[in-house]
């Protein structure tokens, strides 16, 4: 058996220091300009909204949804609903993105226990099967990506994970996406094939990704509401999908046979997509 543990302690540093530590992953030619990951999100969000004629409110709707989901997650950092106005009136962090477009600074940990499927029933009745998992990378330098609105690592890892599972995006019943910034949830929906390029914001506005929609996304509250202890978030995504697949998600429970988790490192520099199925 294998125990996978992820954890991160971040709140003992100031927000500025945490931001600098995370920004130190950028290329030296980026870092010297004071680039931060939130500023990559601002640059990308402006480009996405302009290019696809998407309303600013659609990004706010991602945060509103994930906060609403977090209310029912006793492990979430924020268990509090917000509305669109709250997001749009919050302080600017990286124009056009504001405070509520960003995940908080968080301490946290998560763990998952793995064993071969062939022996799982010897240990428990409540298990889920990882039927596909794949990692992919994108350029280190963010501006070298051909299309700023496409997360190449998401596309490649998603395709490979689906291929391993013998499934496609249409088979997924619930997903945990890496909403470190609201814009990333839209870009991952598109990269994974849940929506066409430039169209994910329409699904969000139509309520398709809410708890009662046909593809609930971030039922845990996502990084936005649950919090984002960097080293723990990927494992915590798997934990939420596990709970959904074995029917232990309580008030957050949705009907799900197949789940997906997409975990992003850097600004899409490395991505792991995992497909899980109920047994």
């Amino acid at each position: 058996m294998t125990l996978l543990v992820g954890g991160e302690k971040m709140t003992h540093r100031s927000t500025g220091e945490s931001t600098d530590i995370i920004a130190s992953i950028t290329h030296p030619e980026e870092y010297k300009h004071g680039v931060t990951l939130p500023s990559f999100a601002g640059l990308t969000a402006r480009h996405y909204l302009d290019r696809f004629d998407a309303p600013r409110e659609s990004l706010a709707e991602v945060a509103v949804k994930n906060h609403a989901n977090g209310v029912d997650n006793p492990k979430a950092q924020f268990q509090k609903e917000i509305d669109v106005e709250t997001v749009l009136e919050s302080p600017i962090v990286a124009d056009p993105l504001r405070l509520y477009d960003f995940c908080p600074v968080t301490d946290g940990s998560a763990a998952l226990l793995f064993c071969p499927e062939s022996v799982a029933a010897e240990y428990t009745d409540d298990y889920a099967v990882v039927s596909g998992v794949a990692g992919a990378t994108d350029t280190h330098v963010v501006h070298e990506r051909e299309d700023p609105t496409v997360m190449g690592g998401v596309v490649e890892s998603g395709e490979a994970a689906f291929e391993m599972a013998g499934l496609g995006p249409e088979d997924v019943d619930v997903a945990e996406l890496h909403d470190m910034f609201t814009i990333l949830e839209l870009m991952q929906m598109e990269g994974l094939g849940f929506a066409d390029q430039g169209e994910a914001w329409r699904d969000v506005q139509a309520g398709r990704t809410r708890m009662d929609g046909d593809l609930p996304i971030n039922t845990s509250g996502g990084l936005k509401s649950k919090g984002h202890p960097l080293g723990a978030s990927g494992v915590a995504q798997g934990y939420e999908i596990y709970e959904q697949l074995v029917g232990e998600a309580g008030p957050r429970q949705v009907e799900a046979e197949t789940g997906l988790a997409c975990n992003v490192g850097g600004f899409g520099n490395c991505v792991i997509t995992t497909v899980m199925e109920a047994r």
Partner: protein
């Protein structure tokens, strides 16, 4: 060293070059890489971007900046055209008043952020000077 930007000072040799790098198959990248990301050949030429103009593709004004970085910090993703090829670069902007589609030119800055503050303080591998983008009329 002056904090002001200069375009024709005597210390230009000390500046970190702002250049695109080209491989024998004519692929162009900024920054340079040991091997061309497109074809894997070693890059053999550089093309200075200093005396060129670029167009703003997108921009942001960052208000939550790390220690040693100016606040606010307006950044732009810009695109140069070099011999018919597009090359993109990311950098600070000299003003907070910038728009998509603006034409900008690079201007040198001795210290883009405080080398003594922040996580990479003392790192010899990290350049601190470079070029910000200044909007030009027309």
């Amino acid at each position: 060293m002056s904090e002001d930007t200069t375009t024709d000072g005597d210390d230009t040799d000390d500046r970190t070059p702002f250049a695109a790098h080209r491989c024998p198959n004519d692929h162009l990248t900024y920054p340079g890489h040991r091997l061309c990301p497109d074809c894997g050949e070693p890059q053999t030429e550089t093309v200075s971007l200093v005396d060129r103009t670029a167009e703003v593709v997108t921009w942001t004004t960052s208000t939550a900046t790390p220690p040693g970085v100016r606040t606010p910090n307006t950044l732009a993703l810009v695109e140069f055209q070099v011999d018919g090829q597009a090359v993109r670069a990311l950098g600070g902007v000299t003003t907070d008043d910038v728009a998509v589609g603006d034409t900008v030119e690079p201007v040198h800055v001795d210290e883009l952020r405080d080398p003594e503050a922040g996580l990479k303080s003392g790192s010899g591998d990290q350049p601190w000077d470079g070029y910000r983008f200044d909007p030009v009329d027309g």
